[in-house]
């Protein structure tokens, strides 16, 4: 199959890999500093909005009947979804021994952790009285009532807490040998910092023996999380009887959408990052081609799910369901409904062409469309259903306010800030896994092991 992008022949030596990755941690370029300052600025916008909300209350964010929690839960689901591609690439593709994962998985794992960390802010923002956030935790109230374990909202607390803990553990665990490699290359106070962070790792046979085995089990445990977390998020919607939400297709539809949006975000992040950190020779056309195929696959599943939702609405004969879907396409929110269908179902189909999959510029533009489309998907699901449910006298169009947009912008700033700071502080390309793929030099010719 000459048309498929082949796995590139790695010409680097082990020493080259260490040198190139350690070089990404040196003095930052002007471009990097400017982007990071931009992210911090956006974060400050969000922080200021949050302070105003704490002082005055959630009324600023357009919390009024019939739609209360709109932009914040849209953005919450958006960020949770982003995380899923990271775990797919780092854990599922690890189990499948997929060779192209190596160069990109660290950045996707970092993206997962910070995306879930961003999402976790939203329930806290939404509760309005942040100082009693611990009421969310499962402990009995003053009448000794326990929380309702039959509610998907409580399942979600467990799912997201587990997801955040396990993906952070997976990231930090994978980082330890790489931090040790950096420790042995730098000097001064940085050496001390990396020495502490490498927790005594020296890479003995005994260390690798336990480490590699447990890595396999961590990957195996993280794998079902990809499928479970967004399924639970989808049940937050699907177990309600609200028209447009009450579908059995919701779990696979949300999981595919999550992976699709996550890979969109991976592309948005690594295309500029590899330029700024000079990693063009490590993250190549071969990786983009494969990421493009994953976008195509999950985008096509979304295409099918969108079609199926409309079909079932018509086929069910249920007037509420039919009205909801009619209004999604031709009601007051038609612009959001069509943004979601065009950005997700149609734009992803461009990736059938290899020329597009391997063009970095085209992929970057498509990835922006994916980010916008997937945010609108959640907006459409929430706004169109809640604004027109069973009581026509309560129908009203949602009006997002400056407080909604301030927090949305702040969430991008918060996420971008952590991601960029991480990329400068720790190896964003997995040193030891790339080394594993490069054959070690031999005294005798031939006699290769693999």
């Amino acid at each position: 199959m000459a048309v498929l992008a082949q796995e590139p022949v790695i010409t680097q030596t082990h020493a080259d890999v260490t040198r190139d990755v350690v070089a990404t941690l040196g003095k930052p370029s002007t471009g990097y500093v400017l982007i990071t300052l931009g992210a911090v600025g956006l974060f400050l916008v969000g922080a200021l909005t949050f302070l105003i909300l704490v002082k005055d209350g959630l009324g600023h964010a357009g919390y009024q009947p019939p739609v209360f929690w709109l932009v914040y839960i849209t953005t919450f689901v958006f960020w949770i979804g982003i995380g899923h591609a990271g775990t797919l690439i780092s854990a599922i593709l690890y189990l499948f021994r997929s060779p192209w994962r190596t160069a990109v998985y660290r950045s996707t794992e970092v993206m997962t952790v910070f995306a879930v960390m961003t999402a976790a802010l939203f329930p806290i923002i939404h509760i309005g009285r942040q100082w009693i956030f611990y009421w969310l935790l499962p402990y009995p109230n003053q009448r000794f009532l326990w929380p309702n374990f039959k509610s998907p909202l409580l399942w979600d607390v467990f799912a997201i807490t587990t997801y955040f803990t396990v993906s952070t553990t997976f990231l930090v665990y994978g980082l330890i040998p790489d931090v040790a490699a950096v420790r042995d290359k730098v000097s001064g106070w940085r050496k001390l910092v990396y020495k502490l962070a490498s927790v005594g790792w020296v890479g003995t046979d005994n260390q690798w023996r336990h480490y590699s085995r447990a890595y396999l089990y961590l990957a195996a445990l993280a794998t079902p999380l990809v499928l479970s977390v967004h399924s639970v998020v989808s049940w937050d919607f699907a177990s309600g009887i609200v028209p447009g939400w009450h579908g059995t297709i919701f779990a696979p539809y949300f999981v595919a959408g999550a992976i699709y949006s996550g890979i969109g975000m991976v592309l948005t992040l690594i295309i500029p990052l590899r330029r700024v950190l000079k990693l063009d020779h490590m993250i190549t056309e071969y990786h983009f081609d494969n990421l493009g195929k994953l976008v195509l696959l999950t985008g096509s599943i979304l295409f099918y799910a969108y079609g199926m939702e409309y079909f079932i609405a018509w086929y069910s004969g249920n007037p509420y369901e039919q009205t909801t879907f009619w209004r999604r396409a031709f009601g007051p929110l038609w612009w959001a409904g069509w943004s979601m269908i065009i950005c997700n179902a149609f734009v992803s189909q461009l990736l059938w062409f290899r020329k597009i999959r391997t063009s970095v510029t085209a992929l970057f533009v498509i990835s922006i469309f994916i980010n916008i489309g997937m945010w609108f998907e959640r907006y459409v699901i929430i706004a169109s259903s809640l604004s027109n449910d069973f009581l026509p006298w309560a129908w009203d169009n949602p009006n997002p306010t400056w407080a909604d947009w301030g927090i949305l912008a702040g969430s991008f700033g918060w996420f971008g800030m952590w991601f960029l700071l991480f990329a400068r502080t720790f190896p964003i390309v997995a040193i030891q896994e790339i080394k594993e793929m490069i054959p070690m030099p031999r005294l005798r010719a031939g006699g290769g092991h693999h």
């Binding site: 799912a159 040998p177 290359k185 046979d205 005994n206 336990h210 089990y217 031999r442 092991h449």
Partner: protein, 173 residues
């Protein structure tokens, strides 16, 4: 590493070639030196085969942790629902299918955390202290350390050099 622990006496060979390192390991093991410490920047199958590394027992930690999490998840939810029974949606108080997500999430959570705990324990308990190290082992060199008294150092150095070691150092107590 060697700050608090006594330095372990022995000979440290540094290799650039994988086949040279495996030759040295096989020769040393054949000569009765089974307690080698081998450094590498990444997990390497050829070194594992030469050392005849057994499978790590860390899987027991994963299994026990996972089972603990699963049991804890179901026990907690069932007990809490029976401790103060509230009828929700006409379902049974101890409605097991509704508790599957909690049981599952805790299986993954405790399973993952206990695996990491297992690795820490096994590395700390089974690892040797005070072994000589070279920063190049995390870069592109392979290190083979043979714990040995000073009198057998020259024999061991010859063995390591013959196999293809590019550098040999002694660690004195």
């Amino acid at each position: 590493m060697a700050r608090r622990h006594k330095v372990l006496p022995g000979v440290l060979g540094s290799f650039e070639h994988i086949d040279a390192a495996t030759d040295a390991i096989k020769a040393l093991r054949a000569g009765g030196h089974k307690d080698l410490v081998v450094y590498c920047s990444h997990p390497n199958h050829e070194l594992e085969e030469a050392l005849e590394t057994p499978v790590s027992p860390v899987r027991l930690f994963t299994l026990i942790g996972g089972l603990t999490g699963c049991t804890a998840g179901f026990t907690m939810t069932i007990w809490m629902n029976l401790d103060w029974p509230v009828l929700v949606g006409g379902k049974a108080f101890a409605s097991v299918p509704a508790f599957v997500p909690i049981g599952f999430e805790l299986t993954v959570l405790i399973g993952a955390l206990s695996s990491v705990l297992g690795v820490v324990l096994l590395i700390v308990l089974l690892g040797k202290r005070g072994v000589m190290y070279d920063p190049r082992f995390s870069d592109d060199r392979i290190g083979v350390f043979v714990p040995a008294p000073p009198e057998s150092a020259s024999t061991l150095e010859r063995l390591l050099r013959d196999a293809g070691a590019v550098e040999v150092r002694y660690a004195a107590p």
